[in-house]
Amino acid sequence: MTTTYREALRLGLREALEKDERVFLMGEDVGRYGGTYAVSKGLLEEFGPQRVRDTPLSELAFVGAGIGAALGGMRPIVEVMTVNFSLLALDQIVNCAALLRHMSGGQFSVPLVLRMTTGAGRQLAAQHSHSFEGWYAHIPGIRIATPATVEDARWMLAAALAHPDPVLLFEHAQLFEAKGDCGPGPVDLARAQVRRPGRAVTLVTYGGSLPKALAAAEEVDGEVIDLRVLRPLDMDSVLASVRKTRRAVVVDEGWRSGSLAAEVMARIMEGAFYELDAPVARVCSEEVPMPYPKHLEDAALPQAAKIVAAVRGLG
């Protein structure tokens, strides 16, 4: 079935609410407003205010309440409006959700799903456009997933709800209108996927950069790997491709310094150094706060042309 990324996310939510009465959705404007990005539109009417809960603008409290509700036997899906706002809840995510299982000696698990919109491309300027999923991927104890296709948008939620530990789902702002096939499901929350086979270079990417990498791959015969899950990283898939193409460019919408791209590059170096024909390169966001005007925003972000140039620069 062909649909949009947004509709696929909604189908996933509806199915989760239908299948398991422990599941509920909460967040800012998920109910009456229908979700900032209209993902949860109609769900309040369908499932009622107990299971589709509008919250106050209290990210720290409602994310923490999601953790508590998960400990208390529920399967909460908490929506944070954008990744920038998730920083207000960082204490609960990092100091609590991620640590509880290990620090309690394995007594507690936190089956919480935290969804948020990430990324730039909609001229929302510096405080609504960044990509912090790479930061989150630094932290053991949480799983970081980045649906980049309609299929993953449709099915990753179910996989996340089945996981015993906190899962953060990053939905990219530029993908909501993307169309594609839902597929039959289910999908896993572990493996990277080859989205386009190729011979000349491996393009490793995730989330909103996937369409850009696919466009670039057409020009350079690239093999495109969609990481899908940023923690834990499926390096086996990446290394298998790199061993074949012997060259790699990592495309990551996060800032360059201390980025997820840096981690992937380091692991390629650790795992396939002697099989490389050229140093691994990367295309990241420019290290500036995201500007508002379209031409500057475009210039700050990874683009297909930059990826092609990076591939050509490998020599």
């Binding site: 509920f24 107990q50 919250t55 106050p56 209290s58 720290l60 409290a61 409602f62 994310v63 923490g64 309440a65 999601g66 953790i67 508590g68 509700a69 998960a70 400990l71 208390g72 036997g73 529920m74 909460p76 204490d91 609960q92 100091n95 609590c96 509880l100 299982r101 290990h102 620090m103 309690s104 000696g105 394995g106 007594q107 507690f108 053991p140 104890g141 949480i142 799983r143 015993p164 530990d165 923690r231 834990p232």
Partner: protein
């Protein structure tokens, strides 16, 4: 007049003593290097945890702070497992991984042992939300110090709890100092019940040096929560006799103030009242104390005999390496 049957009174006394003796021993063991890291003692505040825990039922939830040895103990976590945890031994109640600040016990619905000030409040709101959605009859009791009221987590969680009428009891242990910062040096409004009232939440104050007053306030709060009337805030006014942690030189308060509060010590005042009304003799007190000391000695022996978690198990319980 203490309004309880003698049996309950003696139980309250014994439980305060159990906390006191456990912690005195812990301080001693800290000096010997057996216990490391941070160790925050509750000595002086025992009436609060004792009064409150005796108002809770086994099906209730408890969320506490890093000054939680007493709460864990009276929740039913065996003293030996608490001591083993402080030693860092595998037989500890968190497998030795948490230490003094991170005591957990799933079976007793004891959710920590959380060492970020204010961090337990959102969690408590969520536990209460879960029991409300699941139509379970549980009170979620959340303990925190007055330092936490400066955190956004306090205000956000109080609002959420009252807005959704969650079955939570917010037990604020006001010992007047957030580490070394006095309440009046950090808060524009020092009446904590006024803060709770700003959210429309029922709020009461209790003398946290008196186990009877603390128990009555906690019972009243829990009854209200159980009745479905929504959350309650209780301010227990109390005082920490010892330093904030073992690293604290106590430059921020004078000795005379500490001595004034010690004169209101919860254990000797309560035992004096029991003696005055003919329900306790000095010999009976000593007998209770000997029993407690024996429990402490068993706990130490258990911890000493415990084992270290093998390094090979370092990454156990991390599912996203």
């Amino acid at each position: 007049m203490i309004p309880y049957p003698r049996e309950l009174s003696l139980r309250l006394l014994a439980d305060m003593l159990r906390i006191r003796r456990l912690e005195e021993k812990s301080a001693e063991l800290y000096g010997e290097g057996k216990i490391r890291g941070f160790l925050h003692l509750y000595i002086g505040e025992e009436a609060v945890a004792t009064g409150a825990m005796h108002a809770l039922a086994p099906e209730d939830n408890v969320v506490a702070t890093y000054r939680e040895h007493g709460h864990a103990l009276l929740r039913g976590v065996p003293m030996e497992r608490i001591m083993a945890e402080m030693y860092g031994k595998r037989e500890g109640c968190s497998r030795g991984r948490g230490g003094s600040m991170h005591l957990f016990d799933a079976a007793r619905r004891f959710y920590g042992g959380l060492a970020i000030v204010g961090g337990g409040l959102p969690l408590a709101a969520g536990l209460a939300l879960a029991s409300s959605l699941r139509k379970e009859s549980r009170v979620t009791a959340c303990f925190f110090g007055e330092g936490a009221v400066a955190e956004g987590a306090f205000h956000e969680s109080m609002n959420l709890a009252q807005l959704w009428r969650l079955p939570a009891a917010f037990f604020c242990e006001n010992n007047l100092y957030a580490m070394g910062t006095a309440l009046e040096r950090s808060q524009s409004q020092t009446d904590l019940c006024v803060k709770a009232a700003a959210f429309g939440m029922a709020a009461l104050k209790a003398d946290g040096m008196d186990v009877v007053a603390a128990h009555e306030a906690a019972k009243q709060a829990c009854e209200r929560v159980r009745s479905g009337a929504g959350p309650v805030f209780v301010e227990f006014q109390t005082y920490r006799f010892r330093a904030h942690s073992m690293f604290d030189p106590e430059l921020y308060r004078d000795k005379a103030e500490v001595e004034r509060w010690k004169a209101r010590g919860p254990i000797h005042n309560f035992s004096a009242r029991l003696k005055a009304q003919g329900e306790l003799t000095e010999e009976q007190f000593l007998e209770i104390d000997r029993g407690v000391m024996a429990e402490v000695e068993r706990a130490v022996a258990f911890a000493e005999a415990g084992s270290w978690e093998p390094v090979e198990e370092l990454a156990r319980d991390v599912t996203t390496p």
